[in-house]
Amino acid sequence: MSAAGVSTASSPPLRLPGEHFAAGLGAFVCGAIGLVLVAPDLARGAFFLPHVVAVVHLFTLGWIMVSIFGALCQFLPVAVDRAIRWEWLAHVTFALQVAGVLIFVGALPTGSARGVHIGAATISAAFLLFAINLAATLAGARTHSLTWWALAGASLFLAITPVFGVVLAINLDQGLLGAERFVTIARHVHVAIGGVVLLVMVGVAHRLLPMFLLAHGVDSRAGGIAVGLLFSGALLLAIPIGGMVTAAPGAILLAAGLLAFLVQALAFYRHRVRRHIDPGMRLAAAGLIGLAAALIAAPLALSAGLANPQLLIAYHLLLLGGVSLFVAGHYYKIVPFLIWYHRFGPLVGLRPVPKVHELYSARAASIAGGLLMAGWLGLVVGVILGSPLVARASALVFAAGTIVEAIAVARIAQRRPA
């Protein structure tokens, strides 16, 4: 059944993904509120400010990564037919990640170097432990599918990404990177997005999109190419030497990998049997369009660099916004199914049970999606125009979308059989 996409007999208890999704949504809302505060700074092209960096990490570490960790805890048994190797360690990782993000994000605006270092170290420990848990789980798999290779690659970059983060955190008060600071930040961002986030997205989408869209028999070679290109690109960017010799080909490979992923995702959407696209998959599609826009903007933004900070910010907004919407869309697929599986699944065959889409209001989901998309697009436009007013108003719309989504998901979590 298509519902098998997210659950198996060896799936963890609801609490494990549940705590991740609750914290992830909390970070999504807090990040969006922070975005309202920093939006005028972004429109002015000022992004190397501590409070801006704090907001960015609320999204990346608090929203995107916590959601990914939670989704993987649930998805791994499906993807590799193995329960997560150490369930207790996943709880520990979660606690470290949440504590680390709170310390790190709290310390940045206050200028506490000690807090930034402790936060970065705690988050790094969480990443490393999750990478070990992920690798140990994958090691027990009998077959090595595209999803397996994508997640194996992501486990490597989960261990590498925080190294950049720690170096940058230390650099904040010691300045050891000098002029290399900006290049190191660019490597950090793209290793994290390409090597971790996009590889996970490719691996998960390879399994879930055909199921959610009912797109059977689609050629998946583009997905395989995407895994190879993203891995190679992130690996080159992870080499902290060689300047443009490693950075340029790394960036090109990453871009090609993203393009291959988008081609694969488009094939799934185009070959879907069900013509109606539900609010979750619409939001995910909007995220993919955002990533396509980021791909187009990348050469312009990265070549202009600090000479055009607004363009650079707009590019990163497209990139992180695209990922955010893709993740937000999947909340409407995974959370209702988990609630259904744990609370209504045991009643199958005994009495009529609701369908997954009946566990939430499609109207509320569409409103949330509309607000998120409109706010995000408006923010990008506001930054490009250099208008603090447009940027802040759009960030408000986006924040409203996160609140509506959080309420909608919380209501799903409360659903129980009558």
Binding site: M1, S2, A9, M211, Y341, G345, V348, K355
Partner: protein
């Protein structure tokens, strides 16, 4: 024979309680039930899943067991999962997707 036909219909009706929660259709409408045979008070249900190696097998099998066990006249339920022929969306009853 007439009794068996009626029982068969009731078994199929019971199987319609087993749904794919994501697609929102029951396994009969989805075309996942390939065959039902009755042998006295025993029912053999031959079914498939939409994806090969689908890990929801136990949940579907459990749903089939629970649903058909409720049918009066059936005392033994034997679900059989098969992959040949492989399921495809064309097997869904017309007009449902």
């Amino acid at each position: 024979m007439e009794l068996n036909l009626t029982l068969l219909e009731r078994v199929y009706d019971a199987l319609r309680l087993v749904i794919d929660p994501e697609i929102g259709l029951d396994i009969v409408t989805l075309g996942l039930v390939y065959d039902v045979t009755l042998d006295g008070d025993a029912a053999d249900i031959t079914f498939s899943l939409t994806t090969r190696g689908c890990p929801m097998e136990h949940a579907i099998r459990g749903g089939i067991l629970q649903a058909v066990s409720q049918v009066e006249g059936v005392n033994t339920v034997r679900p059989h999962l098969v992959w040949d022929p492989a399921w495809h969306p064309g097997m869904v009853e017309p007009g449902y997707l």
